[in-house]
Amino acid sequence: MQGYLRNDGRKGIRNIVTVVYLVECARHVSTRIGNAFDAADVHVIGFPGCFPNEYAQTMMERLCTHPNVGAVLLVSLGCESFDRYGLAKFIEASGRPVHTVGIQQVGGTRVSIEGGIEWVKGALTNLKKKISVPMDASDLIIGTICGGSDGTSGLTANPAVGRTFDLLVKENAACIFEETGELIGCEEIMASRAATPELANELRNSVHKAARYYTTMGYSSFAPGNADGGLSTIEEKSLGAYAKSGASTISGLIKPGDIPTKGGLYLLDVVPDGEVRFGFPNISDNAEIAELIACGSHIILFTTGRGSVVGSAISPVIKICANPETYERMKDDMDIDSGRILDGKASLDQVGQEIRDLITEVCNGAQSKSEELGHTEFILTYKSFEPIGPSCLPA
């Protein structure tokens, strides 16, 4: 495999420009700038809020310096609270070209769009000259998520991704599974797989925290479509989702923006710390995808039974369809047909290997289905976290 070497030693599998709105008021200008380019080259991300938030600042720093990102254009209205100076400095320190368009300062929408397009054109010309270097699985971070789950997700796609994760962990890649709110009911089984007893406690506590949080909110991470697909309770959804983690030892627990320090399997705790504020932990799948990417994920393995169509800004999303009927109906959106397992036409190991092989292809530049279709969804909202404890990362 070939990748783009960054100053921090990480390697990217894409070399894109991100256009970043720092408040909703700067989104239109950012979108217009982004739309002037091919979706493969320029992605728009941003934070809609006008009030400062430490989590959002950290997320933006990590996303703008993700190894798949080569240059960054910040778009500011001018009066928002987001610390644009701090973000620009952080990006500059990473060795990436960065430029800020201040809409109020330069004179409104039109000139901001024109100026932004001009800068991105120049940045892209320089990025195209960047030479790639060899990379291997130990350079990779792979995240996984399930969305639009049904009764087949836990039978086919999720355990198949579990097999892929087992293969990747053996190759010394870092693999991240997440959504502690969707692990409610799995806390004890999961704790029994922890590398240390201290980590086992951290894993257990993260699920207890999620159960408390969702109980306060009044809803579990269980959508009506899950019930249509045959899932009855959050525990049932959890057990199916948990299968994505495979069978490896769990090496660590991280929070959004923490980057795994070495290869192995990590749980990403996405449920905020402290009292319940700012609403639901993750308002939709892309909020979790953005967090997986902020932890350095190069690729997201997305399993779906009901048929999600989303992709993401920054990192390619590979869609693994669990349900054979959904696959027939929504083929154009699906990279892998794991529903074959139900008919006995393929084994979990075969599909796990198929996903592993596709990861290499996508790393080498092949577009996933969601990339081909131009999906670059992104969402970031308010949250707050405490730093992870000392026993959360492998020694």
Partner: protein, 111 residues
């Protein structure tokens, strides 16, 4: 992980020996007669892919086991061969939110 005993219709999966439910791996129409562990039962309701039926009689408050682990408790007595879903199974953690009208129409929509 996926296994099915020889005496059970191949359209149903028994995931673990200790489970008291099995899972449909294809759409099965209402009125279909099926064999579950050497005993013939008639489905009163269509089963969509991934939906569950009781593998043996289940008492009220009994834990429902799938993947060898509890996924909630029965809210009423469930007969062998009866569908097990949100109408007779509840979470032991947080109640499930559903759109009741959509739940059973999905079978027609999807076939």
């Amino acid at each position: 992980m996926i296994s099915s005993t020889k005496t059970t219709d191949p359209r149903l999966l028994i995931l673990r020996d200790e489970d008291n439910v099995c899972v449909a791996c294809t759409v099965i129409e209402a009125g279909t007669s099926l064999v579950i562990e050497a005993q013939k039962v008639t489905l009163h309701q269509a089963l969509y892919v991934g939906h569950k039926v009781a593998r043996r009689p289940i008492q009220v408050h009994e834990k429902i086991l799938k993947y060898g682990a509890p996924i909630g408790s029965a809210t009423q007595k469930i007969a062998k061969g009866e569908a097990v879903h949100t109408h007779n199974l509840k979470s032991d953690y947080i109640p499930s939110y559903t759109l009741d009208d959509a739940r059973y129409n999905s079978i027609e929509e999807n076939t």
